[in-house]
């Protein structure tokens, strides 16, 4: 019983301090990465670009400005939406491995939860846009919503494919838990076909990321207030700042998820340690190295999935978004999925997989009989 109370208290402490720390961490690094991103893309286009601390300045400027609540808006929803988005984004941070360590709440939530929590910021933005009562914001909000529908399909395929692959190899484990996924990288289990599939899935995930973050090609730098940013047309002051922060934190979150899914490599594994050493003075270098390594990985992911795409691609029409995500990208993701599954088929002899239906052999002879196969 005492043990139980201690557990309870520990969880409480983790929740309390973890939330505070990760919130600050997320906000800081979100804004920082934003600045880096802008700088990098400017350099790629041959510009100098703003200084890296520009996002911080933007935020503080917004904090100074006063708020406007349009007369067509519904005040309480209008004010609550930015808050909800930021809160939900911060809460995701507790479920993802930051810095190569176990997630803080590793046994309290899993990948599906993260998938859903990722929706909430977008939802908050949509709600805020809708609630502002302006036609422009409405159009922007519904565009955001359609985009969300569109990219969830490939995203779901990726997540399920990875979990399925893991569950084939790791019987009776919590394959959806991020701690499992990071501890056993997917690359360890795949054969050649599966490797190809994983690469395809990675590519799809990278393409999905800008949509998740409402960046180009779903936005346009010239007409921000009419497209992805359009839903924020009526926002100003600290409410807009909240959305700004949300965007930053979400960038970190998305990148960390990609890292966790496909690049969960740690320094300590590379240097041959069996396990991460306990927290002590001697372990500080390793921890620092882990964090730095993690930040670099995140930076690379952001570079590839946001900056490069942003620089090189034009923007899409709304029906093109649905088409793009539901037809080519989904097909691509399905190809990846099927690659991974057939990889599994070769390994598991007694299970037949047609379109992924795992059914016992004994059920099939009659089906064959119907088809005329002896």
């Amino acid at each position: 019983m005492e043990q139980y109370i201690i557990d309870l208290l520990t969880t409480g402490a983790i929740v309390l301090f973890g939330t505070i720390g990760l919130a600050l961490f997320g906000i800081f690094f979100g804004l920082l990465y934003k600045g880096v991103d802008r700088k990098l893309s400017a350099h790629m286009q041959g510009r100098i670009g703003p200084p890296i601390r520009q996002p911080f300045r933007d935020v503080s400027k917004l904090f100074v400005k006063e708020n406007i609540i349009p007369e067509n808006a519904i005040p309480w929803i209008f004010n609550l939406a930015p808050l909800a988005g930021l809160i939900a984004t911060i809460s995701i941070l507790l479920y993802i491995p930051i810095g190569g360590f176990e997630p803080l709440l590793s046994s309290k939530g899993d990948l599906i939860l993260i998938l859903y929590l990722l929706i909430i910021p977008s939802l908050a933005m949509v709600t805020g846009g809708f609630s502002s009562g302006s036609p422009y914001a409405t159009v922007g909000a519904q565009r955001e919503m359609v985009t969300m529908i569109a990219y969830e399909f490939p995203l779901a395929i990726i997540i399920i494919a990875i979990a399925w692959k893991l569950s084939i190899n790791l019987q009776n484990t919590n394959v959806f838990a991020l701690s499992t996924i990071t501890a056993t990288p997917i690359w360890n289990f795949v054969g050649p076909l599966g490797f190809l599939g994983c690469l395809v899935l990675l590519f799809v995930l990278v393409v999905v990321t800008p949509a998740e973050l409402s960046k180009i090609p779903f936005d346009s730098p010239e007409a921000e207030t009419e497209l992805a940013g359009g839903l924020l047309a009526e926002y100003s002051g600290r409410n807009l700042a909240m959305f700004y922060l949300t965007d930053g934190v979400k960038t970190v979150v998305m990148a960390s998820i990609i890292v966790a899914l496909f690049f969960p490599f740690n320094i300590w594994r590379m240097i041959g340690l069996d396990a991460l050493p306990a927290i002590s003075l001697e372990a500080i270098p390793i921890y620092t190295a882990e964090i730095i390594f993690f930040l670099i990985k995140v930076l690379l992911v952001i570079l590839f999935s946001l900056t490069l795409i942003r620089v090189s691609v034009a923007r899409l029409k709304i029906d093109q978004i649905v088409y793009t995500y539901w037809v080519p990208l989904t097909l691509l993701a399905l190809v990846g999925l099927i690659c991974i599954m057939w990889d599994g088929w070769t390994m598991e002899g007694h299970i037949i997989n047609i379109f992924g239906f795992k059914i016992q052999w004994s059920a099939w002879p009659s089906m064959f009989k119907l088809l005329g196969i002896p």
Binding site: I77, I112, F130, M145, A156, I157, W164, N172, F357
Partner: protein, 541 residues
Amino acid sequence: MNLPTFEFTPALVVAIPLLGAFLTPLVSRINDKLRNIFVIIIMGLTGFFVFLLAYDVLAKGIKVYVFGANTADTIQSLENGLPLLRILFEVDAMSVLMAGISVILGFVAVIYSWSFMKENTGLDKYYTLFLLMIAGMLGMELTGDMFNFFVFLEITSIASCALIAFWTNKGKAVDAAFKYIVISAIGALFILFAVALLYSQYNALNIAVLGSMIQYTFLDKIALILLIVALLMKAGIVPMHMWLPDAYSRAPSSVTVALIGATLASLYGVLRVCFTLYGNSLSNICNNLNINVHSMLGTLLILLAIITIILGVIMALRQINFKRLIAFAAIAELGYMFLGIGTGLTVLGNPELAVYGMTALKGGIFHIINDALDVGLLFLVAGAIYYATRENSLNRMGGLARNLKYTTVFFLIGLLAVSGMPPMNGFASKILIYESTYQLSPILSIIAILCSILLLAVFVKVFYSAFMGPAQPKFKDVKEVPKSMLIAMGIITCIIIFIGLFPQFVINTVVTPAAEALVNFGGEKGFYINEIIESFTLGGV
């Protein structure tokens, strides 16, 4: 806790609403208010007995009530292998779960209709039919006899048909009621035909007895198909769903809430048929060919479920009638339940995947509760909006969040719950389904996740077009709906939040026993009969 009434609870649960229904015309002669109070008391009493029964069943296991029996004789006949003559109520955790849902929905709807239906005539008939409908659902869910099941099915469908046609001045409502009654009459007749087929072979009507004797002959399979397809139609699965949006959207909202219960009772029938009546091969794994029946049946159910989810969501996205939209969303939710149940049915015979099958089954059953509450809440909100504005079309609404503050909050919670957003109950059951069906085929869970998000989009659209936007001049005088309606919505909201916050608690106490009851019901040959005898000797009727 050995209250003397415990042994009669199964009978009382059905008898009290029936008694109330017979008394309502007499009571309503006296006073309208008295009638309303009377009906609420009857529903409350029924609910009390249902929960008493639930407590009993969850604590002690299966509970049997024999109608009109000398108990000793029945025990003797059971022990000697003599045929069962009388009608039995066999109440296990699954039945109790469904009964609880029906009672909650009915109770809420009755409270709701105090203000909602106030301006209509014919209210005494309305309340009578309402109680009859609830009684019918409860009877369907508690009975252990095939023919009795058919009788209660008919009670439910006739009462609901009459209630759908309540607003007879609207042609559409009468039309929907006619469609509903045709569908349910045909379904019920085919069920009766199937019962007769079973009777012709085994000369028994009790589900458990039949279940222990089923041989999987050709006629058995025909009977199985008739039962399953008819019940699926009554449950409203695609492609036999078309009556459902009509009926749901054109009935008064309070009736629609109870109709959800009726639909779920048919779903319960599917479960009983699959797992109990034809369940004796589920536990002795791979013994013969029979396992293929389950495998094939489960696969077919899954396919139908997938079609149901996709079609329901896609159609819902396009609707502009508020209630019709929710009805299509309810169809999609139904698909989730069948996805879980079908996966369970397919996989349970397979030793490797049986664990996942159990999880899927649990998820399906859990989703039954959640769907009933969520969709019920949404329908109540739709009714509240209709009450306040006399408007059903989303195209003509807007800006109502200013006038209907509480309703907006309730709708927001319903929105989050029905689309399975994290802190709400919908997420808890959907995560069970996602994280088990992927074992059978990843595509299943992918489609499930996608459609869940589409559902969110659907309701965000509703949220926007009904509640947000500029204040419309025509809704200037709209006031918040009366208290009784708010109370009704509040009750459901509280339950939703409770389940959302303590999902594992609910699963442990209610859902897992239900799933286990389903799986073990057929069991080995005669297993269930032994249970009955034990409950007699231990429980002491």
